[in-house]
Amino acid sequence: MDEPITELEISPAVSENSRHAYWMKQALLMGEKALQVGETPVGCVLVHDDQLVGSGMNDTNRSLNGTRHAEFLAIAELLQSHPKSLLQSTDLYVTVEPCVMCASALKQYRIRSVYFGCANDRFGGTGGVLSLHSDRSIDPPYLVYGGLFQKEAIMLLRRFYIQENEKAPNPRPKKNRELNTAFDEQNENEGENDGNVLLAP
């Protein structure tokens, strides 16, 4: 059922020195913020005409709502000053591949294109597990490019898990910690996969 995604490469030259790189760094900064407040460090920014129109980070721990991923927060911020239709000409830069939920949401919100850092082979919805960005649906497909600063994105995640481990005496986050290990391993693998994660329109 899942159609293979066409690969679209971001050349190293482009990835180091372009506006894409600039915006992905902004997304990474959002990830850093998430890390500081104990959220899974995933950050994103929405960019329209080279302007920042929204930014978000994971908010599941604070909100106690497992669906409050960075993408939703960024979109909510965008909607405070712009109509939804702006998303049709807006790009998303996110440190980790959008999950299945977000990949579908981004389609329903009609994002123009998505640039992500590291892939997510557990939950990824833009090629990691499913390919919702290109699957047949009542909404049009969108473009996806992956692998931009993937190492930085992975390092953010690793730092998060180390930090959690240091909190070990705290009984409460125990479950979270185990869950996070799963993610960690995944990203370990991702790291070894360097360069193969470039995705696709």
């Binding site: 407040v37 604070r62 909510a76 939804k84 479950k175 185990e178």
Partner: protein, 592 residues
């Protein structure tokens, strides 16, 4: 009639709860690839394996344990036998002391393979009795023999066959593949939890869902209707139920010789209605505000992406957010986050501060005695648990969930001391709680602090009571959730998702196959809406079947059920109107 009365008078849908098969069951992965079959000396079999494994390390991610490594001649499928016979004219016949080994993909070059296997070639049959006894069959060391000039140089026969990459789903499939491709083993004991929920888990959940599903779905439709009639959303509703409270209700009712189903509403922990037209964008009036008093909202007559709000305003996402919102009101949580430098969160994107009457009723106004008592003991067995992908049997956790509440009920006296009221109501007045989170940039906290006064207890377990996201809860929906909501359901760790088959959506994320067999009542027999769903004419061409509730690739899994309404039942009258005039024509094409 007040809400409590309205809810009490709800008539259950009549029908049957049917498990939704998983995608692994409905679309068993069948992938085939080319493999080589080589005839080798049977006595060298173990050496052959060693040589092959050393030269071509196996791909651990692709276990081929369902394929026999060796096959005797009489086990070969017909096409290989025929190939052998055709070949035997040109190849020297062997002495029969041979066996066939499978070389599975990725395939090495033929020459490499020939060289590697040459030492283990079958020993040619002696045609002449004058053959020196030294080389008697089977005794010669195959490694030494290649050098021997006298017999023909050993020749490895390589045949090609197709092989199934994935393990067979059942014995029939194994038998068929064995006959056509290569001997295949079906192992019924192989971990199948990735394929489908273990039957005992499924059946236990089914037993707990069956008796009251009709009520909860009926309520979901009431919530849907409320959304639609308010103009705030499409007619989609969600009801979150705690099976632990249901178990408690059943025990109590049994003790008091009452019908447990009378108190079905006591197990509802939150309801959420679709509110996709209710959110303001860029400060402009929302779609609902633009058409005050007009219902259904004019935007619902078609699917126009710009008017659709977003999936975070869908019923499932809102019901989930309301559970979270209620927990955020807990003192402890507020204290924890008030002192941290939580960055700004955009204002109430899911309208969780704008509750409909039904939403508000279930979130704040009810705190029945049943629920209070129910909260008090199943906490330990219901503590959050995870089902990790790596866990070979992720369902054991669910099994214990289903067993333990019963056990604890039997073990504990029926009269339980009431729990101390959570201090949530004091939170508002507590001067020790710092107020810095009342920050103009963080309107959520403001609103939540000033929201409806909190009752003493909630049916929603706090985190201290073991409540974690929607772990162990069931969600009943008027329609099949969209892909986004389906994954949101998994990320929220629901135990099960249940929706009426008539609520299937072309954009849904749960169904795994077209409707087969007897179809439910045709609600729309008197209109000619071709796009209508749930009529049994849905085909694979109409939509993609994701069966997201239980996919082997995903870390989280939930049970999925469809409710198939009985035909010719009187009770459906009300809903016929609600659903059938969902719109005129095309509007079944939207995300629920």
């Amino acid at each position: 009639m007040d809400l409590a009365e309205t809810i009490k008078s709800i008539q259950p849908l009549k029908g049957e709860v049917v498990p939704i098969r998983t995608i692994q069951e409905t679309q068993p992965p069948e992938k085939f690839d080319d493999a080589y079959v080589a005839e080798v000396n049977v006595k060298a079999a173990s050496k052959v394996i060693k040589a092959l494994d050393a030269a071509f390390p196996r791909d651990v991610s692709l276990p081929m344990s369902h394929l026999r490594r060796f096959a005797k001649r009489n086990m070969l499928p017909q096409h290989l036998l025929s190939a052998l016979e055709a070949d035997s004219a040109t190849t020297p016949t062997t002495n029969g002391q041979t066996i066939f080994v499978l070389i599975s993909p990725p395939l090495p070059a033929v020459e490499t393979l020939q060289t590697l296997l040459a030492p283990y070639a079958p020993v040619p049959r002696r045609r002449s009795s004058a053959t020196p006894p030294v080389n008697s069959p089977g005794l010669s060391s195959p490694i030494a023999s290649p050098a021997s000039p006298e017999p023909q140089p050993p020749k490895i026969r390589l045949l090609k066959t197709r092989i199934p990459i994935y393990a067979p789903f059942n014995a029939n499939q194994a038998e068929q593949w064995t006959r056509k491709m290569w001997p295949v083993v079906f192992n019924p004991a192989a971990p199948r939890s990735t394929v489908a929920p273990p039957p005992q888990i499924l059946n236990r959940a089914l037993d707990s869902i069956k008796p009251r599903a009709g009520y909860y779905l009926s309520l979901a439709r009431k919530v849907a209707d409320e959304s639609k009639q308010s103009g705030r959303g499409r007619g989609v509703g969600a009801v979150v139920v705690d099976p632990a409270i249901e178990a408690e209700i059943e025990t109590k009712a049994w003790e008091q010789c009452r019908n447990a189903n009378e108190r079905w509403m006591d197990a509802v922990v939150s309801v959420g209605g679709d509110a996709r037209y209710g959110r303001s964008e860029a400060g402009a009036p929302s779609q609902a505000d633009k058409h005050p008093g007009v219902a259904p909202n004019p935007a619902s007559t078609s699917y126009h992406a710009d008017l659709e709000g977003g999936p975070d305003l869908h019923a499932l996402m809102r019901a989930t957010e309301l559970v979270a919102r209620r927990r955020r009101e807990d003192t402890e949580h507020q204290a924890q986050y008030a002192s941290s430098l939580t960055p700004v969160i955009a204002s109430d994107p899911q309208l969780s501060n704008k509750l409909s009457p039904l939403e508000s009723y279930f979130l704040y106004e009810v705190c029945g005695t049943h629920s209070t008592a129910a909260l008090d003991h199943p906490v330990a067995p219901l503590s959050p648990r995870k089902r990790k992908h790596e866990d070979p049997n992720p369902e054991t956790g669910m099994a214990s969930l289903n067993v333990n509440p019963e056990a604890s009920i039997q073990d504990t006296p029926s009269i339980m001391p009431l729990p101390a009221p959570p201090p949530s109501s004091m939170a508002l007045a507590d001067p020790t709680i710092p107020t810095p989170s009342i920050d103009p940039t963080n309107p959520i906290s403001n609103d939540e602090r000033n929201a409806t006064p909190l009752p003493q207890t909630s049916r929603i377990r706090t985190r201290a009571e073991g409540g974690y996201l929607c772990t162990d809860l069931d969600i009943y929906l008027s329609h099949e959730p969209c892909m986004c909501c389906s994954m949101g359901m998994l990320l929220s760790r629901f135990r099960a998702v249940i929706f009426p088959r008539t609520g299937r959506m072309l954009s849904g994320g749960i169904a795994s196959e077209p409707i087969i067999g007897p179809t439910p009542v045709d609600y729309d027999s008197d209109d000619d809406n071709k796009e209508n769903i749930g009529k049994g004419d849905e085909t694979a061409a109409d939509r993609v079947y994701y069966g997201l509730h239980w996919r082997k690739e995903l870390n989280w899994r939930a049970l999925g059920f469809e409710f198939v309404e009985f035909e010719g039942d009187e009770e459906e009258g009300n809903w016929t109107e609600v659903v059938a005039d969902h719109g005129d024509g095309e509007d079944q094409v939207f995300h629920a």
